[in-house]
Each structure stands twice: as structure tokens, then as C-alpha cells.
Symmetry: C2
């Protein structure tokens, strides 16, 4: 797999890639929400501020139907750059990897069958606690149940997420747990200053070093839920955390509640691992002794500006794109040239559709 | 498998049993509700009239946790006979068969992660239409989506249901679709007269022979949803409809929307196939060319009156008990003697627990 770059526990990463060839994969798509994303300038996930809340359910609908139901178009940036879900959908379909949607605190429910967890969205951490401690316990407990069920149905459970503004809450959780984190963003000129201002004010509310209390005060619902999934799923099957900074925050919290490192890998795009404004790979190796697998989908070679954009730093990751591409290549043996071809086909389908 | 009795397409039934040995099974538990069950004397599912609505979510919670959250005890008859879910739970656990709960119109949501379908409960068919035509379309569409997803994760999808009063709506649908059905009941002295009175008045509202319209007027939400599951799942994997009369109604409606008979079997208990007040096996063979597999769990040999009761006609079937026992025996090679042993162990655990 020449398209992959390995970091962290490289030996385990090689074994994972080898042992998963033509095995069964299942993609679980966790949608959630934090009101932190409503702070102007914090995210590009959604054409405008009001539409941000529709992005997670719309991503779920696009993955499933190939079009959205809660909004007219597919999620895209103000200037029409498509959701990274395009890469996820292409990857999953090309490898016939089934997927399930889990609502872990999305403000809006998707218009398709989904796993309900009874969770509510997170509050804006710049002004108040994200959740109560008992909401965090509920998220972990339900995450454990869902993770166990889904892992029992596959050889490798891929976990992706969609939570606008999630890199900011992840930054806060990582710092509160003692990691010197610099996080990526869906915006090329990462609004680092704004994020740090929000995080600093949020961290002031922390009055306990108990991980549940930390996530309750400065995190978001996705983090404890996916950490719960990881903790149970990694004892049953392999788990691929599909994402960048946000999955690093999941990993940091999961390290506190316990999970099986030997069955866990994190997969993302080279746009995250090469992001100079962040420190993803060194961060991951500080948190856990697991492999980080990075894929370069070579989108800079695309004839379509909307796909090129990913390689230029727009929406570097999301909807589990990186981990899905990696998983699909492991399962099918496809390389990034095959992948670019089918991604461009999907891109053309979408933009003639719209 | 000497404990099995085969009806209908016996050859296909033998092949199914042979080919599924030590294969992967997945149990999907569909909970729903029809206000028809609120008619006094129609069902025994629940200790009293008000508690009936809690029976489907409580069954789901018992299957998952081993105890209930929405009610204090486990679902049982007024005189303390336990839910057939006891048989289902014993069967699934003894064979390590995973399960997922699907809410297809339950009045109360279970306190565990479940698949949400956005469906609402059915109305009392003795006084009004159960659903609108568009609610039936929604049920079929969502059933198709869920069936396809779940079937892609297993070799055999078992479908069980819990909908109090469902035998009456099933009787109405079967008669409206032209079958001379006599249905079983959870009560030894099947209140046939009452059921027929309700069905007759319901049938008077039928003004179209379109199957969607028929189910909308005299059916319940479970029937079109499970029929949708069957239609898509049977094109992907094997499907075991786990139940009696209600699954016959599902089969009759599914025959109208189309499904793959070659991958479909119906599994139930001998308490249904031997029920003189009903005509289950001949009914099934009239509807479709599939095997009906019947299991006699030999509960009359139990030292516990609560388990003996099943063999005496109380709650003959439900929560997919029959199909689950059959599936677990096919997977593990256990016979009914092994099964009775572990069922009695679970019974003792429950009644020391309560």
C-alpha cells in the first residue's frame, strides 16, 4: 500500500493492513452537535450560520441516499466546495462497506433510519458547560452498548463523525487532559487565535481533573460517546478511528476509561498529518501506542477545483473520509489513482445533479 | 434436528437447516403498538391494561440488560407467567447471536440504543383506520432500508416482533387479503368471538383492494415495516421470520410487494403449529412456497409452572421465541433438553431477582 504513510506503532499498523485484506468492514457514522460552532468564524461546515445545524444529518442522508433530504443541496462551503462525505461515500461504495448512522446529540434528526441514543446536543463552551456529568456517563454507557453490538457484526468497525465546531471542543479537551495540542481546521487560515481564546475561557471553568467532569465542562457529546464505542468495540473486533484532531480527543478520553490498544488504529488524510498548523501524529503517539495511518488521495491531480480544494486545505477531513479511504483500499486493493477516478465520477454526478 | 417439524417447502427447509450450521445469525427485534390492544379482553401481554404499552420496550430492555428499565418487573401475565422473551433471551445468549432493537411505532421508547424509524403507533381498527396510506409507504420504505443494512451484516437475519393486540390486526389483514385465517392468541381460551367482531367491523371500512390501503385501514405499523425488511433482506441474505400468525400476515403483505422466497423461512413454536383454534401451517403454504419450521421446546417437562405454562397455551409465541430457539439450535447443535436446562436457569435467575 504505497499510498499509506504510517506513524506511531508502525509494526502494528503494518499487521493491521496485512490482516484486514478482504475482511469485513462496517462504517459507523456518528453525528452530533455543539453550539460552539455557532460562534462566527469558527467553522466552514455549512454554507451559512443557520445551515450548520443541518450539516450532520445532511451528511448522513447524502452517504445513504446520494442526495440530502433536510437540505436541497449537499453540504458545502459558502463558495461551493463539497463535503468530505463525497470521499467517504466513494470509498465505502467502491468497497461495498455497509454503514449505519448514529445520532449522538445532533440538533436535527436525519431523514433515514438511525440509531437513537437519547442524547442532546452540547452547549457553547465559550459561555457554559457543554454537558452535565450524568450526560457524559449516559454517552459513555450508550457508546459502550452500541460499540459492542456493532463490533460483533464485523471484523473492523470504522468510526467517523460529523460535529461542526468539533475541533475547538477537541482542542479544549486535549489541553485540559494535559496535551499540548495544535488542532487542524476546516478553514485554510486556521482561526487559531479565535479557537485559543474560546478554549482559554472554557478551561477557566474546570475545577476537577476527573475526565468525565472535564469533558462535561469543555467537550462535546461526540467525544464520550465514541470513546465508549471504542472501549467496548476494541475488545471484540478491530477499530479504525476515522478522523483527525477530533479522534485524537476521543483517544485521549478513551485512554482514561480504558480500551484495547492492540485492536485500535487511527486513520486520516495526509492533509491532516501534513498540516503545519497542527501536530497530529506526535499528539497521537503521546496519547496511545497505536498506529496512525495516513492516506494521500492525490486530489491535487483532480481536474475538478472542488476536489483539488481538499488538497489545498479546505475540509481536510470529516465524515471519516481518511479512514474510509484507507479501509476501502485495504479491502479492495485499489490505489489512489483508482480512487481519484471514482471520486471524480461521483463529483460529476453531484454537480450535474445540483 | 429431531426437535424440528417441517411444513410447506420441506426440501428448502432441510437445506436451510443444513446450510446455516455454525453460520452468522443476527436477531432484529421490531417493537410496535396498535391501540387495538386496549380493547378489554383482547390480549394478555401485560399485567393490566395500562401496562400493555410498556410491554414492547420492556421486552427489548429485558433482552438486552436481563432486566427492565421502563417497568420494575419483566413483562408477565396478570398471574405472573413470564414473557416469551425469556425463551428468546436464553436462545440468543446460548448461541452468542447478537441482536438489535428497532422501534417501528412503539408508544414508549425503550431505554437503550435502538434503531429509530420515525413511525407512530397504529390506531384501534375497531373504530378507525390504523394508519394513512403514506404512513404505510414510509413503513415499507424504512423497512427496506433497515432490512438491507442488517442483512448485509449477517448470513441469516432473524426478525421477531412485539406488538400487543397484533394477532387481531393480523387476522384482519389476512382476511382482507383473501385468506381464511384462524389466528392464535396469547390466551388459552382464544377470544375468537371478540376478535372476529372487531375484524368484521374493521373490514367494513375497506374500499380498495390495494394492499397499502388494506394495511392502512385494518393493519398495524409492524406489518408493512417487517414486510419491507423481508423484501430487501431476502435479496441479500437468508431471513427467518420468527413468529406465528403475525408473521403470516407479514408474509401475506410481503407477497404483494415482492420478496425472495428461496431465502425465506418462517420459524415458530409447536404451540402455534399445534394450535387447534388456528390454521397456521396450511395458511403459510397458501401464502408462499417457503418452509415453516416448528420447534417443540418440551417445556411441559419443566419443573417450573411459569415455563410449563407456555406448553399449556399461554403466550404461545412472541418476541421471536420460536425462530430464535430454532436458529440457536441450528448454530450450536443444542437440542431441546439442553435448551430447557438453560431456560430453567434463566427462569430461576429472574424469579430470585424479582
Amino acid at each position: 500500500m504505497d499510498d499509506f504513510e504510517l506513524f506511531g506503532n508502525i509494526e502494528q499498523g503494518k499487521n493491521f493492513i496485512e490482516s484486514m485484506k478482504s475482511k469485513r468492514f462496517l462504517f459507523s457514522f456518528v453525528i452530533s452537535y455543539t453550539e460552539t460552532c455557532e460562534i462566527p468564524g469558527i467553522t466552514f461546515a455549512g454554507a451559512d450560520r443557520d445551515s450548520i445545524q443541518f450539516t450532520p444529518p445532511a451528511d448522513a442522508e447524502y452517504l445513504h441516499y446520494g442526495y440530502c433530504k433536510t437540505i436541497d443541496k449537499i453540504p458545502m462551503t459558502p463558495d461551493g466546495k463539497p463535503t468530505p462525505g463525497l470521499l467517504t461515500k466513494t470509498a465505502l461504495e467502491s468497497a461495498s462497506i455497509p454503514h449505519l448512522t448514529i445520532n449522538a446529540g445532533s440538533k436535527i434528526s436525519p431523514q433515514l433510519p438511525f440509531v437513537d441514543t437519547g442524547m442532546s446536543f452540547g452547549k457553547n463552551i465559550s459561555t457554559e458547560d457543554a454537558m452535565t456529568d450524568s450526560q457524559v456517563s449516559h454517552a459513555v454507557d450508550y457508546g459502550r452498548i452500541v460499540g459492542r453490538s456493532m463490533a460483533s457484526l464485523t471484523d473492523c468497525l470504522i468510526i467517523g463523525e460529523s460535529i461542526p465546531g468539533g475541533t475547538t471542543t477537541s482542542l479544549a479537551v486535549l489541553k485540559a487532559l494535559g496535551y499540548d495540542a495544535k488542532v487542524s481546521s476546516s478553514i485554510p487560515n486556521n482561526p487559531t487565535e479565535l479557537k485559543n481564546k474560546i478554549v482559554t475561557s472554557a478551561l477557566e471553568r474546570i475545577d476537577s481533573d476527573h475526565p468525565y467532569s472535564i469533558v462535561a465542562k469543555v467537550g462535546d457529546p461526540m467525544i464520550p460517546f465514541v470513546a465508549g464505542m471504542l472501549s467496548s468495540a476494541s475488545s471484540v473486533s478491530n477499530v479504525m478511528l476515522a478522523g483527525g484532531t477530533q479522534m485524537a480527543a476521543v483517544l485521549a478520553f478513551a485512554a482514561k476509561i480504558g480500551f484495547n490498544e492492540e485492536n485500535t488504529a487511527i486513520g486520516t488524510t495526509s492533509y491532516i498529518t501534513n498540516d503545519k498548523s497542527a501536530n497530529f501524529t506526535s499528539l497521537v503517539s503521546k496519547i496511545a501506542d497505536i498506529p496512525a495511518i495516513s492516506i494521500n488521495p492525490n486530489l491535487e491531480n483532480s481536474q475538478h477545483t472542488g476536489l483539488k480544494a481538499f488538497s489545498e486545505g479546505f475540509a481536510k477531513e470529516g465524515v471519516g473520509a481518511g479512514g474510509s479511504i484507507i479501509s476501502s483500499m485495504i479491502k479492495t486493493g485499489n490505489d489512489s489513482t483508482n480512487f481519484l477516478e471514482i471520486a471524480e465520477k461521483e463529483y460529476r454526478r453531484l454537480f450535474t445533479l445540483l
